[in-house]
């Protein structure tokens, strides 16, 4: 994704009107897609005086990085002015375990459902797929009560658990489809040699499925990092993820809004998934494609 593709096929010897129109369209579209990112960036580097003049697309007169510093370590959410770094670390604490656990369980599920198929496999798979489609709103209130009974409500462990439960359908599907394509003989031969369920999984299947582990992890990481709803409902005031904190900072401030600081905080929230996207483009694409198949 970071390397530029070489043009393929025969290159037209001269630019025809059609080609010019084509490139004009592509470049205009690219500008449309980039404009918001550009606007965020320049706004975050301006002083409030300059922002009040109302040239939203103009480059900053002087580069002013103070908004970034405030956004990271001084932005206020209510009376607490500790910056988005609080939300950043909360998001890390939520996302990392949720990704590791959901991908592990999903991989085991996919393996068991495709190569072992114990009784009820089809039913369980059907339940998972149906569950993956249902809007979360119907689960929320009872789940809050359930987690409260388990003393997990308003805790990092609670949000992680909810993310794992709602991540299972897609991760299971990814791994099931991956393992289904593996010749059954491989598994049978290992069984004849006396290897059991876990040994075949750990020594044969898991090493084979490293690409799928990457795809599933990236998909889950961006999904959970970008989540708003589950973090809002289950994390509790002390563990709010970055997205929820960002929204609170921007949309519930009293007095004049500090747009430069807001935009810096917004970029900081977007930067992790964006970095993953730019550096792992191919894996990201595969996750997107798999997600589309799920629909």
């Amino acid at each position: 994704m970071t390397t530029l593709a070489h043009p393929r096929g025969a290159k037209p010897s001269r630019l025809s009107v059609g080609r010019i129109g084509l490139y004009a369209f592509l470049i205009l579209s690219a500008l449309f897609f980039l404009l918001p990112l550009y606007t965020m960036l320049v706004t975050s580097l301006k002083s409030m005086d300059e922002i009040r003049q109302g040239h939203v697309f103009a480059l900053p007169d002087t580069l002013d990085f103070s908004a970034w510093k405030t956004a990271w370590s001084g932005a206020c959410m209510g009376t607490q002015c500790l910056g988005v770094r609080i939300g950043f670390w909360n998001s890390v604490k939520i996302t990392v375990p949720a990704v590791v656990i959901s991908v592990s369980i999903g991989a085991i599920n996919g393996y068991a459902l495709s190569l072992w198929r114990p009784k009820g496999s089809n039913l369980l798979f059907g339940l998972l797929m149906a569950g993956g489609l249902i809007p979360y709103q119907i689960f929320l209130y009872p789940l809050v009560r359930l987690l409260a009974d388990l003393s997990l409500y308003n805790s990092v462990a609670g949000v992680v658990l909810v993310h794992v439960i709602f991540g299972l359908p897609l991760v299971t599907l990814l791994f099931r489809n991956y393992f289904v394509a593996i010749p059954e003989e491989l598994c049978k031969a290992a069984r004849v040699d006396g290897a059991g369920f876990w040994r075949i999984f750990l020594e044969i299947m898991l090493p084979m499925s490293v690409p799928m582990v990457m795809v599933a992890s990236i998909f889950q990481f961006t999904g959970i990092w970008n989540d708003f709803l589950i973090g809002l409902v289950f994390a509790g005031r002390d563990n709010l993820p970055m997205t929820v904190q960002l929204n609170n900072i921007v949309n519930t401030t009293m007095g004049e809004r500090t747009y430069n600081m807001n935009m810096a905080a917004t970029i900081l929230t977007a930067v992790v998934p964006l970095a993953i996207y730019f550096f792992s483009g191919r894996w990201f694409l595969r996750g997107v494609a798999a997600g589309a198949v799920k629909g």
């Binding site: 994704m1 592509l26 690219a30 109302g54 939203v56 489609l133 249902i134 709103q137 209130y141 917004t266």
Partner: protein
């Protein structure tokens, strides 16, 4: 025989956590919520059954009705917009252009960002006093008006902008993959017949991408029903109820307005609408997947 059973016992055991999650969370909580929708619960669940009274209340609630209308407008324009723009972008990239991968990266990057971030960016750009409107006025066009985000009649369309900006790349990727799968012979045959390129995309390529586009349309539609964070971040449902959506109505009634019964009725309606929208499509896909699986 016994050894085999013991081994598959390990597989059953490995699936146990998922069974618990599926039964307790997916089925259990759903039944609980549906049950609540037939009670007069307010702050706390009550077991005083009132039949369909909450549903009757729901469909007399002007805010709920407004949210249904909004989600319909948003859904049609958002899904349609993403499909149209995504397809056109894919067709343009399919014309053997230079820097294809750079363009592709640019068109898809918004999809990696959260709805909260998307909503906040557009809220800022559309801000009437300091955003696009102010910029154009500062350039000398004093009468320029672009205040959609604070205009009751137009605010919902600003959410559509943001949504299409975020989601069109997904369709582009899926459509482009489909176009690359179409054989060279069809192109040659069509070109020998002298059919113009745009006509080939519209009449020959588009029909063949039907299933892929339907799948991405389905994915986007599911997103429409769940739309919540984008609205919360960009407009907060306002001005007035003009961008209110069902998912937000339910959240507000669950956690702020203490209307547990009403919110549960709304959530049940939401689930029913997903089932009605998705069931036929999924069934067809499952049949096709089953046939493909048999060929392996």
């Amino acid at each position: 025989m016994r050894a085999k059973r013991r081994r598959s016992l390990a597989a059953t055991f490995a699936l146990l956590p998922t069974w618990i999650a599926a039964i307790l969370v997916y089925i259990g909580t759903m039944i609980w919520s549906v049950r609540l929708s037939f009670t007069d619960s307010t702050i706390f669940p009550s077991s005083n059954y009132v039949g369909f009274a909450q549903y009757a209340r729901l469909f007399k609630n002007s805010r709920w009705l407004a949210s249904l209308e909004n989600v319909l407008i948003f859904g049609v324009l958002y899904v349609g917009g993403c499909l149209a723009l995504g397809f056109v972008l894919a067709a343009a990239l399919d014309r053997k252009v230079r820097f294809e991968s750079m363009f592709r990266t640019i068109f898809l990057y918004p999809y990696a960002m959260s709805f909260v971030v998307t909503g906040l960016i557009w809220q800022w750009m559309l801000n009437p006093t300091l955003g696009i409107q102010a910029t154009v006025r500062a350039l000398g066009w004093q009468g320029f008006v672009f205040d959609w985000i604070v205009n009751r009649d137009m605010a919902i369309y600003t959410v559509v902008f943001a949504g299409v900006w975020q989601g069109a790349g997904l369709v582009m990727v899926i459509a482009l993959a489909g176009m690359r799968g179409i054989g060279e012979e069809q192109w040659k045959a069509a070109q020998i017949d002298g059919i113009p390129v745009w006509r080939i995309y519209l009449s020959i390529i588009l029909p063949q991408l039907g299933p892929a586009l339907a799948a991405s349309g389905m994915l986007l539609s599911m997103g429409v029903i769940k739309t919540y964070d984008l609205i919360v971040a960009q407009t907060g449902g306002g001005p007035g109820y003009s961008t209110e959506v069902p998912a937000k109505f339910i959240m507000d009634n669950l956690f702020e307005r203490q209307n547990l019964g009403l919110a549960s009725a709304g959530a049940t309606v939401l689930v029913l609408s997903v089932v009605m929208a998705v069931a036929p499509f999924r069934y067809a896909l499952a049949m096709r997947a089953g046939r493909m699986g048999a060929h392996r």
